[in-house]
Symmetry: C2
Amino acid sequence: MPKKVDHQQRRTLIADALMRVAADQGLEAVSLRHVATEAGVSAGMVQHYFRTKDEMMAFALSVVRERSQIRVTEAVARLGEAPAPRLLLRTIIAALLPLDAHTRDDGRVALAFLAYTAVRPTAATGLREGTAQLTAFIASVLPTNDVAAAAGLLALMEGLGVYLLGGQYTAEQALDALDAQLDLLFGTPATA
Amino acid sequence: MPKKVDHQQRRTLIADALMRVAADQGLEAVSLRHVATEAGVSAGMVQHYFRTKDEMMAFALSVVRERSQIRVTEAVARLGEAPAPRLLLRTIIAALLPLDAHTRDDGRVALAFLAYTAVRPTAATGLREGTAQLTAFIASVLPTNDVAAAAGLLALMEGLGVYLLGGQYTAEQALDALDAQLDLLFGTPATA
DNA sequence: GTGGATGCAATGCAGTCGTATTGCAACTGG
DNA sequence: CCAGTTGCAATACGACTGCATTGCATCCAC
């Protein structure tokens, strides 16, 4: 088994470049050569690690999902043990929203992939799972345990994300809307 | 002034073809020739009515916005005069959601344009206006007149749309979430 | 009629795309 | 030390892209 290179590392290196390109030029600007240039490697190497473009896209998509997963986990961990449900939800959702310039890039990529998968249903199964899990978790934390309310909160988050990216809402407006929603769900005007 | 052809009609004919292509193959599949074939016209004609591809895209985007505007207006008109606020909101939002196969196509195009404009901020000003107007209107109808709550409801709608398109929510789930939200906003469990 | 504007089709061009192929350097197990 | 696997670069290919150009009907104003 000759040559020792970390395949996973190379692949994420390329995926990172892909995300950078997608973040400021859109997914349709993602091409093998473009990504390769952005990554500072040869186009041949990209081909070496991803036999097809779709394979590369799928991997990048999985990285996006993984990253947001990690963001949530870290944000929750920062809360310490047994946080109040309302604060917990607010933290999770705020962690997933594209509120600053850095997370906006990730958000743009995620949005691009959303449109991408809307046309390629097979590639969306992962996203579906993630949403379902999150819905169930949110429902378990809500005082009412209401699944429909949980689905609504999640949808509100997604919509806030979209509007933040589109420039329709400012970060402040989005957080206000989120807090107003939590007020509704928890009944308490501003306990958190 | 020779030759009398309805420019506007030709342009919408082409825009319709564009939307059909975008709806089932994604925006990145939209090319001059592709759209021309779908429209059953020559590529040269497309060029004749849109000097550049971006111009064509911008026009199609305006058509999308116009269509949804019309859908809302019609749905509201069907309610008769002075409808109950809750029913009014439900009707408007339901009219904007991609609930059936037909409106799903429009929704896919809209989503694609969302990602498209996220990278071309200048093309998004129209969308911003529309959102702002809708927010103000919703706030004026809500019992609390709360702008943040209105923004939240709008975001919830957008998120429901996204999840409907992604297959994460069924039409029933989306409507349940919407009704649950209206329950929260209007205090009444199921008066509508 | 006829000059001129217009509607539209056809073709050409330079560039980019994804991918298959080829070649070579580097390294490692025996 | 060397066969063989692997990492990677380079190139070629056909398809496609947006756009510019050209040419030719068609129609209106005069």
